[in-house]
């Protein structure tokens, strides 16, 4: 490691420290005026009254503030629940907007400086560390030391990283009020882009996009000389930055619905929720175009592109979850479980999620078209269950938080309903396969070890059999790390795609009836 890289690590650690310290900065003072602006009209009267004891009191920390808030709020709400006065109960979470409003902190007053000191230093430090990697070394992919490093072999650094990610996701999804400083920090940026104040989702999108870009640079270094990897990385950086991050914000700036053109149902599970349909339908021609676009992607885009190119066109070239997995997650790809048992679990779980998503959406649509006569609000409960269990817990907390424990594709492999759909097409009607180069395999195991989807690639390769698996996202890394040039991702004729060769090419002793 050279001096620049050491400085890089130092900068990164400082940035991380500032980032982690941020929730503990500042104090909170609530006013009636703030409550009034932060709450919906129907709740204004109740809320201003409930929170009256807090006005003017200065709370030294978010813990103190939020516990005071919860105490006042729950006393009121729980009483209503006890009485069974369900229609008066307040379901909205006002903790976050109120914490945002009540906060007084240096971060809030100097957001740019803190952005620079936290995320800025992390990015800079990361680049200082990454750019000098492999300098002066000949081209070639090296997984040197992966299993000797505590970061990438479930050692202490790995566990710490995973814990940090899990904590971050838990706060983001369920306790955003603790991230008030972080959200204020990116507020000016949000105003710049969409004209709207930042939410925790903007914060998340911003960090997500940056992480893909910086770790994308790492991919360029690590896989230099491998054009497939370079292009694929550029593609995910582009789609994340443009389609997932910038275009939706710009749409909002132009008074159009927030829309990510590359997100596809059922990964985009709320696409057919009534509020989304209503928004799109009521947004005139452009909204209708978005609706049509979304539907066409599902019924024509996915099958057609997957037929020609395999599911990789989406999973490792376009998708945002895939984009994160392929960049931030790349150092962890070897941690996926390759056992047959894991494959069995995988098939059951991922197809269950697909079924769940389809059933939920079908009920939602029926309900929508019958103007909620059939099921009333039952679908809402289904939505909140799905949103909690699958949308947040599975895809976020487990999906990303478990990178350093179970590899970078936990969600994509076990959970993503779109991956399941793409996978069915890939398995049964596609030109894509990984061709095995005759008898050249030496069973070394590099391909299986570095397959993020936990496919035992070697099992096929050593038998001279092509790899046709629904879960393969076509990342091409098995092919890249094979030391004997055995694997090639290809789109070709469907016939002979699946070949079962009892005896491998090169042995003429045994005549096989082909």
């Amino acid at each position: 490691m050279n001096i620049i890289q050491k400085i890089g690590i130092g900068l990164f650690l400082i940035g991380m420290t500032v980032f982690i310290a941020m929730p503990f900065i500042g104090n909170y003072t609530l006013s009636e005026e703030q409550v009034r602006t932060a709450t919906k009209e129907i709740h204004q009267e109740q809320m201003t009254e409930i929170l009256a004891p807090m006005y003017g009191v200065e709370y030294g920390s978010n813990f103190a503030f939020l516990s005071a808030f919860n105490e006042n709020f729950s006393t009121y709400n729980d009483a209503l629940k006890d009485q069974g006065a369900w229609d008066q109960v307040i379901w909205d979470d006002y903790g976050f907007p109120l914490a945002m409003a009540a906060l007084e902190s240096p971060v809030k007053s100097q957001p740019w400086i803190f952005l620079g000191l936290s995320i800025g230093l992390c990015v800079l430090g990361g680049l200082f560390f990454i750019l000098p990697q492999y300098r002066g070394e000949p081209e070639g992919i090296k997984n040197n030391g992966i299993y000797h490093s505590s970061a990438t072999s479930r050692g202490f650094i790995g566990i710490a990283t995973g814990t940090f990610l899990i904590l971050f996701y838990v706060l983001l999804y369920w306790y955003p009020a603790y991230l008030a400083n972080h959200v204020w920090m990116v507020n000016p940026l949000s105003l710049l882009l969409s004209g709207n104040p930042a939410s925790q989702w903007f914060l998340y999108g911003f960090i997500y996009t940056l992480a893909i870009a910086v770790m994308g640079v790492r991919m360029y270094r690590k896989y230099r000389g491998n054009k497939y990897q370079i292009l694929r990385t550029s593609s995910v950086i582009f789609f994340q930055t443009a389609f997932a991050f910038l275009i939706p914000e710009i749409l909002v700036l132009l008074n159009q619905p927030y829309f990510d053109f590359k997100n596809i149902w059922p990964l985009d599970y709320d696409f057919f929720y009534s509020y989304n349909l209503d928004t799109l339908i009521s947004s005139g021609g452009f909204g209708l175009f978005m609706l049509m676009w979304g539907i066409l992607l599902i019924i024509i885009g996915v099958p057609l592109l997957t037929y020609f190119y395999g599911k990789r066109w989406y999973c490792s070239w376009v998708c945002g979850c895939g984009g994160l997995a392929e960049t931030v997650g790349d150092p962890y790809r070897q941690l996926s479980d390759k056992s047959l048992k894991a494959w069995k679990y995988e098939r059951v779980i991922i197809h269950s999620v697909l079924v769940l998503a389809v059933v939920m959406t079908a009920l939602t649509l029926v309900n929508y078209f019958m103007s909620f006569e059939l099921l009333g609000n039952v679908t809402n409960q289904l939505h909140s269950f799905y949103g909690f269990a699958i949308g947040a817990a599975f895809s976020g907390v487990v999906g990303t938080g478990f990178y350093p424990f179970m590899g970078n594709r936990v969600w994509c492999r076990f959970g993503c309903p779109l991956a399941a759909y793409l996978g069915l097409v890939q398995r049964f009607k596609s030109r894509f396969r990984i061709t095995t180069n005759g008898g050249q395999c030496i069973s070394c195991g590099n391909c299986s070890t570095y397959c993020e989807m936990g496919i035992d690639v070697r099992w096929y390769a050593q038998r001279g059999q092509n790899i046709v698996r629904s879960s393969c996202v076509g990342c091409g890394v098995c092919s890249a790390v094979c030391p004997r040039g055995v694997l090639k991702l290809e789109n070709d004729n469907e016939e002979n795609r699946i070949n079962d060769m009892p005896i491998i090419i090169g042995n003429d002793s045994i005549k096989v009836n082909a």
């Binding site: 054009k227 497939y228 069973s443 070394c444 491998i504 090419i505 042995n507 002793s509 045994i510």
Partner: protein, 451 residues
């Protein structure tokens, strides 16, 4: 089950394991026992270097999960066979146990060559073949190793050099010949690899032999002396001057052993019901004109296993390997070969077409007979398709046809530079032909790597 035939295989390397698997597929009754002293479960020897370099853990080198053997009713036995009583059909293990067999297959592999160098058994001096060797190497390179010397320029030697480079141990690489692996590689290829070795800051000494390994007062290597009299200080010496059949424990019995265990084309030894396959077998007659009597590669071990399984399950089958192929990786440069490309050839009988990229790291060679028919190819730095060349060789394609269709032979990942175009261009210049250089698709032109 108890009265079914008991086939015992000594050695759970690729040859023994392939035999066991194919036997089980063909015959669900036979009782199969696989024995090895090295490791209970089959692992891939070819991946030993990757364990040392932290690419993989030992378990990743095991091609089958542990349940596989029980499910296929292949009994595993861990232990070293000390001696064999062929008359009573009994094996004796070093721990005193014994085991009866009805039919015995010896698949006992190789061990590193040692040519009687003074000091070859000092501490810090070793070869690399087994799992135990790897563990020893781990131990030998833990401490203060300021330089390592590798003796013998073959495939294992260069792997060892790469391993040591990962640990940032400077390496001096002694090669007896005047080029790297010149007993297999033609001059240009050998030079290409030599340049790449030096590019990795490995101190490659050609035409240099080991004379003596010198000891310190603790019986550990402190230096070596070469045949030029130079003394090189070092704390580790890798002996990688090839391997030889691991047959010492079989000598002095009725079994006919020369360099390896003597077998005919059915892998039958001179003793009935005793067979030998893999690295340890020595054919009475080489299986083909371009092949040796002892075949010491992974692929041949596998084919021996496949073929003997036919015989043992009732279909007596002679060993008839197809067209030769092989592959290796020299640090970052991959190498494949299909058909026959010897290190030297008779120019009166053989034509050689050679192309090398201007970066000096990618090359292609094709040998043709005087009628212009394909004999074999070497390719370095890019990948070619086995199936394509197997067919071209079987159908005796003219070299020109191979070059014309070379795009179809390309096995590099998508968007890689289309080197076949440069090869076609040069071939047309040298030999002429009724074809044109293949075209790139527009996506390749737009996004693909440049030549």
């Amino acid at each position: 089950m108890s009265n079914s035939r008991h086939i015992v295989i000594i050695g759970n390397g690729i040859s023994g394991v392939t035999l066991a698997r194919h036997l089980r597929k063909a015959d669900s009754n036979v009782r199969i026992t696989l024995i090895s002293g090295e490791s209970k479960y089959f692992f891939s020897r070819t991946a030993l270097m990757y364990i040392y370099m932290g690419h993989m853990k030992f378990e990743h080198t095991q091609p089958y999960e542990n349940w596989f053997w029980e499910k296929n009713r292949i009994d595993l036995k861990e232990g070293w066979v000390k001696s064999i009583d062929y008359s009573s059909k009994e094996l004796l293990f070093s721990d005193g146990e014994d085991l009866k067999y009805d039919l015995l297959v010896l698949a006992v592999g190789s061990k590193p060559n040692k040519f009687g160098w003074p000091g070859q058994d000092l501490k810090g001096v070793q070869g690399l073949y087994s799992k135990q060797d790897l563990e020893l190497m781990e131990e030998n390179t833990q401490g203060n190793v300021e330089r390592a010397v590798i003796v013998g320029g073959g495939l294992i030697g260069i792997e060892m050099a790469e391993m040591l480079a990962y640990r940032k141990i400077p390496v001096t690489f002694l090669v007896r010949e005047e080029g790297f692996w010149t007993n297999v590689l033609p001059k240009e290829e050998s030079e290409l690899v030599g340049r790449h070795i030096r590019e990795h800051h490995i101190d490659l000494r050609l035409s240099t032999e080991l004379d003596e390994i010198l000891s310190d007062q603790n019986g550990r290597v402190r230096a070596i002396r070469t045949n030029t009299g130079e003394e090189i200080q070092c704390q580790f010496v890798g002996l990688t001057a090839g391997v030889k059949p691991n047959v010492d424990f079989l000598k002095g019995s009725d079994l006919e052993v020369n360099r390896g265990i003597r077998v005919n084309e059915f892998f039958e030894t001179n003793i009935p019901e005793v067979y030998a396959i893999g690295d340890c077998a020595e054919f009475e007659q080489a299986p083909a004109v371009d092949r040796k009597n002892i075949e010491q590669v992974w692929y041949t071990g596998r084919m021996h296993g496949e073929t003997l399984a036919q015989t043992l399950s009732g279909e007596r089958t002679p060993y008839r390997p197809g067209h030769w192929f092989n592959s290796a990786k020299f640090l970052d440069i991959e190498y494949q070969t299909y058909g026959t490309v010897p290190a030297v050839w008779n120019q009166k009988e053989v034509d050689s077409f050679y192309w090398e990229h201007k970066n000096g790291k990618i090359c292609f060679r094709m040998l043709m007979d005087k009628k212009g028919l394909l004999l074999g190819v070497n390719n370095f730095g890019f990948r070619l398709r086995h199936e394509f060349f197997d067919r071209a060789l079987s159908e005796k394609w003219p070299g020109a046809k191979v070059i014309k269709n070379l795009k179809r032979a390309n096995f590099d990942p998508e968007f890689f530079a289309p080197y076949h175009q440069l090869i076609q261009d040069q071939f047309l210049n040298e030999y002429g032909g009724d074809f044109t250089v293949s075209k790139s698709s527009w996506t390749q032109k737009l996004f693909g790597a440049k030549l």
